[in-house]
């Protein structure tokens, strides 16, 4: 039986590469129409912007990864535009063109990547508010900005990167509002000593935005995105009082969160990660889990960035090769392990430099819509607070809508923990159920 790789981003691509090298022909499945994953997502055919425009300083990496993938095409069984909607023992349930198909596997490597982590605030459901990732996708795949005057709010590398990409593409950036104190300084103190490239890039973005005269404010407390039917401005607080800026679109994001639903459905154990403040699937350094045949790599396990994803994807594939009893290139494995250890240090610095502002989430006003799918306020959740997040979900419908808590889950856990006065890990985690994303009623069973 085959090896399946879910996700054709940096992790999935490098995993497939190693598997092919070992003489295997993996099935590679991605919901997107083509490979690349989130960061190196390929633009639709006919879309004309240079790789330099699309991928910035990472263009050479994007090119290398795409080139490698193109070389692999003949040696893998690629299933693009195909969603994996459920995992059963030794089986993936996939959906493509309205048909559900079962793909058997002996080993499956899940490289499902990440999504934006948001903290709801009043007005975040207005049209014109996007996640940072959504704002970036609009630029990358449609070549258009989300508005005429865009404010960016949140924290972390993506905040600065997306603001930079927007300004660079000629969009008007109304402001970059970082909820971390001394955020711009963090770029320097956090990682330069270790020489992390991400930090160097971060410094560049900050410098460039400053030079362009973009308004940069650090340590803000956002109050509300304002507007009646559409975004007209953003209100926030600093030490010096309340401020207002005019804008017609806002990009928000507080770092990323792993897309762990498939690992959850596969039955992998989860543990609370105090640094990233979330429940993450447990795997060892090689990417093996406690479920036979299930392997994990990349941002879908723990946010580590694209470079780590590439390394981890290759590393986990060697684990699969080994578990299939095929010859392993031990020197390559040792190199990967060393590189992963080095990267882990940068990542720690980054996590420390831009901590998730959980107090901001915990303290959101009662009338803030916390769960936008079901329109449930933070106040409603506090009123129904019980000792466990799934029970509170049962009582309030929080996290029961279209996104199944993928968006509001982390913030909801913070609100609940604060209401109960307990550590956030004590309220548990939302349990996943198939399908991992909505599937059409008319989905037909095939094969």
């Amino acid at each position: 039986m085959t090896v399946a790789v879910v996700g054709a981003g940096p992790a999935g691509t490098r995993a497939a590469e190693v598997l092919v090298q070992a003489g295997l022909r993996p099935v590679v499945i991605d919901e997107a129409p083509d490979n690349g994953g989130r960061i190196y997502q390929r633009p639709p055919a006919g879309f004309r912007r240079s790789d330099g425009d699309l991928y910035g300083t990472e263009a050479h990496k994007a090119q290398a990864l795409h080139r490698r993938f193109d070389q692999l095409r003949g040696a893998i069984d690629l299933r693009a535009s195909t969603l994996v909607w459920d995992v059963r023992p030794q089986q993936l349930l996939t959906l493509r063109d309205g048909r559900s198909e079962t793909i058997g596997f002996e080993q499956a490597i899940l490289c499902t990547g990440a999504m934006d982590r948001v903290i709801p605030l009043p007005g975040w459901t207005l049209p014109g508010v996007y996640t940072l990732g959504g704002a970036q996708v609009a630029l990358k795949t449609q070549g258009c900005a989300i508005g005429q005057a865009v404010a960016f709010l949140g924290t972390g590398p993506l905040l600065w990167l997306v603001a930079y990409q927007y300004a660079k593409a000629g969009a008007r950036v109304a402001a970059v509002l970082d909820t971390t104190d001394f955020a711009t300084k963090a770029w320097r103190t956090g990682g330069l000593l270790r020489g992390g490239r991400t930090f160097l890039n971060g410094l560049r973005y900050v410098g460039w935005l400053r030079w362009r005269g973009v308004r940069i404010v650090e340590g803000v407390v956002p109050e509300a995105i304002e507007g009646d039917g559409e975004v007209t401005g953003l209100r926030y607080r600093t030490r010096h009082g309340t401020h207002h800026i005019a804008c017609d679109a806002v990009g928000i994001g507080w770092g990323l969160k792993p897309e762990t639903q498939l690992a959850d459905l596969a039955g992998v154990s989860f543990a609370f990660d105090p640094v990233q403040r979330g429940w993450l699937p447990v795997r060892n350094e090689a990417g093996r889990t406690d479920i036979r045949g299930i392997y994990l790599a990349g941002d879908g396990v723990r946010i580590g960035g694209a470079d780590v994803a590439e390394l981890a994807g290759a590393r986990v594939a060697w684990a699969v090769v080994e578990d299939r009893g095929l010859p392993v290139d031990h020197a390559a494995v040792a190199r990967l392990d060393r590189a992963l250890q080095r990267q882990a240090k940068f990542r720690q610095a980054l996590d420390r430099a831009f901590p998730y502002p959980h107090r901001l989430a915990a303290g959101m006003a009662d009338d803030t819509i916390l769960c936008r799918c079901e329109a449930i306020t933070a106040g409603a959740m506090r009123a129904a607070a019980t000792a466990e997040v799934n029970r509170t979900k049962a009582l309030t419908r929080i996290g029961m809508g279209r996104c199944q808590g993928r968006v509001c889950g982390p913030a909801a856990a913070e609100v609940l923990a604060a209401a109960l006065g307990c550590p956030v890990e004590q309220v548990g985690r939302l349990r996943g159920q198939p399908p991992v994303k909505p599937i059409p009623m008319r989905t037909a069973a095939a094969g």
Binding site: S100, Q404, M441, A445
Partner: protein, 379 residues
């Protein structure tokens, strides 16, 4: 040893156990309820929410009638209506044979004063123009409806504890015994004692009964549930079909909840899981009933664990081995509606020694002969 004493011990905090706690507490009994997880975290909290009398086994109808009356007074009883709504239950026939079955049930309903209205081929598509062409007839029970299953057990438990019942969650009962004078039950480090014990442990009621030498052929069952994203509201009644391979309702928020087929489960961990093939089949059957659903998206599926009896009706009543022990479990996939009345009946059995509802069909020993025979086979 430090024992906690009460008049009645209840094992299991689903609809049956929580309503028993409430009805007993209302009448002044000192009650302790022990629940392994949180109240309503098993079948009672995850079911379809159908509050349906139509189509029930005749033996169940007296209980269902009584339960329906309680559903109507739920807000007064527990301070919440648990989103109970009288939507009507429309049971559909997709063939002549099925239609004949609907007609045959009219007599059963009449005998129990259950109002039903038969709707023929032309009328049904006129009254419900969104029904698919597979439907040939229907039978409407106007008094039936639906409620939010997640709310029932917590609401009953809250009302019971206000009246003084001890509702203890995260207490898994691990040993049960009768020491000649009363029951002694342990959960973790704690010991509980009472002269009366109610077994309302759902599927796991079989295990509790076995501790007292009563073997029951109860099997775990996991009906598959699915829900769509919200759609403009248009389906008023709760829909079922003869044969029961699909059922469907739309809540006011717009989501369509439907079910059909069975998932898998592991009673040891109390985990259950939807299976893809029957889930896809339910989607197909739902579209056949209501073609407008074809363009909707399914956002979630789930299931739970109920105890299924070979004849599809529960065990309710006194133990045949141990005085003071009463059972109410094995509701076979349709005990949510019955829950509120089960407590009332158990309270009468405990405090009055009898109840008006005929319980003979629910005797725990009704399968004793077959079990003994099976044992013989295996030996």
């Amino acid at each position: 040893m430090n024992e906690r004493r009460s008049d009645v011990l209840i094992v299991g905090g689903g609809g049956a156990g929580c309503s028993a706690a409430l009805h007993l507490a209302q009448r002044g009994a000192r009650v302790t309820l022990l629940e392994r997880g949180l109240v309503g975290s098993q079948a009672t909290g995850v079911n379809y929410g159908g509050v349906r009398q139509q189509g029930r086994h005749p033996a169940e109808l007296p209980i269902a009638r009584r339960a329906r009356a309680l559903w109507g007074r739920l807000a007064a009883l527990v301070g919440s209506d648990c989103e109970f709504e009288v939507t009507g239950h429309l049971k559909l026939a997709r063939s002549e044979v099925e239609e004949a079955e609907l007609v045959a049930y009219l007599d059963v309903a009449k005998a129990h004063d259950l109002p039903l209205r038969m709707i023929g081929r032309n009328a049904i598509h006129r009254e419900y123009p969104w029904l698919g062409p597979v439907v040939v007839a229907g039978s409407l029970a106007p008094d039936d409806g639906a409620a939010n299953p997640r709310l029932l057990a917590p609401a009953l438990a809250r009302a019971a504890s206000i009246l003084g019942a001890d509702i203890l969650e995260n207490r898994e009962v691990t040993t049960l015994a009768h020491d000649g004078t009363g029951f002694v039950v342990t959960a973790g480090h704690e010991t509980f004692a009472a002269p009366v014990l109610l077994n309302t442990a759902g599927f796991w009621g079989g295990k509790v009964a076995a501790a007292f030498g009563e073997l029951v052929p109860v099997a775990p069952m996991s009906p598959i549930m699915l829900v769509t994203e919200p759609l403009p509201w248009f389906i008023a009644p709760n829909l079922g079909v003869v044969g029961g391979n699909v059922y469907l309702r739309q809540i006011r928020r717009g989501n369509v909840i439907f079910g059909g087929g069975r998932g898998e489960n592991d009673p040891v961990t109390a985990r259950s899981r939807v299976l893809p093939e029957p889930a896809l089949r339910s989607m197909h059957l739902a579209i056949e009933l209501v073609p407008a659903l074809a363009d909707a998206q399914v956002i979630r599926s789930w299931t739970g664990i109920d105890g299924a009896m070979p004849d599809g009706i529960p065990v309710i009543g006194a133990s045949t081995t141990t005085p003071g022990l009463l059972h109410a479990f094995g509701f076979s996939g349709h005990g949510f509606q019955l829950g509120p009345a089960i407590g009332a009946i158990l309270a009468e059995l405990v405090l009055d020694g009898h109840t008006d509802v005929p319980l003979e069909p629910f005797r725990i020993d009704r399968f004793a002969a077959t079990i003994d025979a099976n044992k013989g086979d295996n030996a």
